[in-house]
Symmetry: C5
C-alpha cells in the first residue's frame, strides 16, 4: 500500500463493462510529509474520496474480487482509506483534521 | 491502471496461439497532461483503439481470463477504455472531443 | 522480500473493513548496511514490530490469505520478521542485539 | 508484454526440475526503434527463438501453467513471439524480413 | 528470472512460521557480465547456494506453493539455480567452472 493525494478524475465512455459506474481517480503518490514520489496513476474509488484528499491506496492482492465484490473486476489499484493522520518518529507528519479549520 | 497514447502496432507471425487474432498496440504511458512518463509497452486491444487515441490501460488482475473471456490467455496488459476527458484541480487536462473539430 | 526500517504509522478511520484492527507501519526500505534504497511504503504488521525496528518485509505471494488467516484480506505487503543480524562477506552488517546495550 | 532482443543463453546444471530441458534466453528489452530500455533479464523460450531475434516477451499472467502446459512451472517470463515488423505513426520501425537479404 | 550474486545472509528469530528453517540469502542482481543492476533483495534458497555463488533467481509465479511444496508459503523470490556458465553473442560472459582453479 502507499499514500497518495487525489488530483483529478478520468472519464472514459468507451470502456469495459467492469468499470461502468466506477469513479476513476487520478492519484499522485506522496511521502509521509507530502512530497510527490512517483508518477500519477489511476485507481477505482471505494471510500467516496475526492480531489484534495490524502488517501491510502491498495495496489496488490485481489482488490476487484475482494473489495468490489465482483469476481470479474480485473482491477487491483483501489483507494481503500481516507487518511486522518500520519505519525513518524519526529511527530505528526500529516493531520487531515486541520484541513478546513483555518480561521 | 494508467493513461497512455497509442503510438504503433506490432506484427508477430510466429507466436503463441492465445495471441492469434489479437491486435497488439504499442503504448506510450503519459501523465494527465500528456507528458510521456515511462517506456513504451505492448498491450492487447479490447475497445477498437487506434494510433493517436489516448487510452485507459489495465495492467493488473486477470485481464485475459476476465476480459478476453479466455481462461487460457496469459495476458494482463489490456487497453480497456478510450479516454474522453480528464479533469484535474486546475480544470480540463485533456479533452478528446476537441480532436477533429479544428476548422 | 526486502529489509526496511519502521519509521512511522498511519491512522485511517475511513477505510475498508479488511484493514480494521490492523497496525499500519510506514517503512523505509534499506540496504544490508542501512542505506535507504527506495520510497517509503505502507505495510500491515504481523510480528509486533515498532518504530525503530529493522524488519523483514514480504511483498509477494498471498500474504493476506496465508498469514493474516483472512481469505478476503487484499493485502500482500506485510512485516513478517524483526531482524536480529545480517551477515555479509565482510562480516556483520547489522546487529540488532547491540541496540539498547549502550552504557 | 514488451519487445526485446535475444542476446545470450544461460546454462545452470544445478536447478529446480521445472526448468529442466527449457532453453533459457538472456533478453535485452528494447523500444520499437531498437534502443535498449531496461536491464537484461532471463526468460524461457517457447517459439524457438535464438540469439539475434527480436521477440515479443510475456511477463504477466500464468505463463507457466497456460503456455508450457505445466501447472507446476513457476515461471511467467516467456518468449512468446518472433517479431516480423513494427509499425508506428512514422512508418515501419523494424522489419525482420530485411535481415539476411543484404547483398 | 534474473541473475544475481549471493552476498550475505539474514537472521530473523521473530518471524512468520512459513520462513522457519529456510535459509535467507541477500542477493545482488547482476548483468550477464557481472555488473550490479539493482538493489539487493532477499530470497529463500532452494539449491544450497552460498555466499559467492552466481545464481538464477525466480521472482514470479507461485514459487512457494510450487517449489517449496508448501501451499501456505507466501514467498515467491527463490534461488532456483546455481549458474554454470553464460554465453552471449560475444562468447562466454561467465564461467563458474573457472572458480577455484586459479593456481
Amino acid at each position: 500500500m502507499f499514500l497518495a493525494d487525489v488530483v483529478g478524475t478520468v472519464v472514459s465512455p468507451v470502456q469495459i463493462r467492469a468499470l461502468d459506474g466506477r469513479k476513476l481517480l487520478i492519484l499522485r503518490p506522496v511521502k509521509p510529509d507530502g512530497t510527490p514520489t512517483a508518477k500519477t496513476r489511476i485507481a477505482v474509488d471505494t471510500v467516496q474520496a475526492g480531489v484534495g484528499d490524502r488517501v491510502l491506496v491498495l495496489d496488490e492482492g485481489n482488490g476487484g474480487r475482494q473489495i468490489l465484490g465482483d469476481p470479474k473486476a480485473p482491477v487491483k489499484t483501489l483507494v481503500v482509506g481516507v487518511v486522518d493522520y500520519v505519525e513518524s518518529a519526529q511527530g505528526l507528519a500529516y493531520d487531515h483534521r486541520k484541513r478546513g479549520k483555518k480561521p
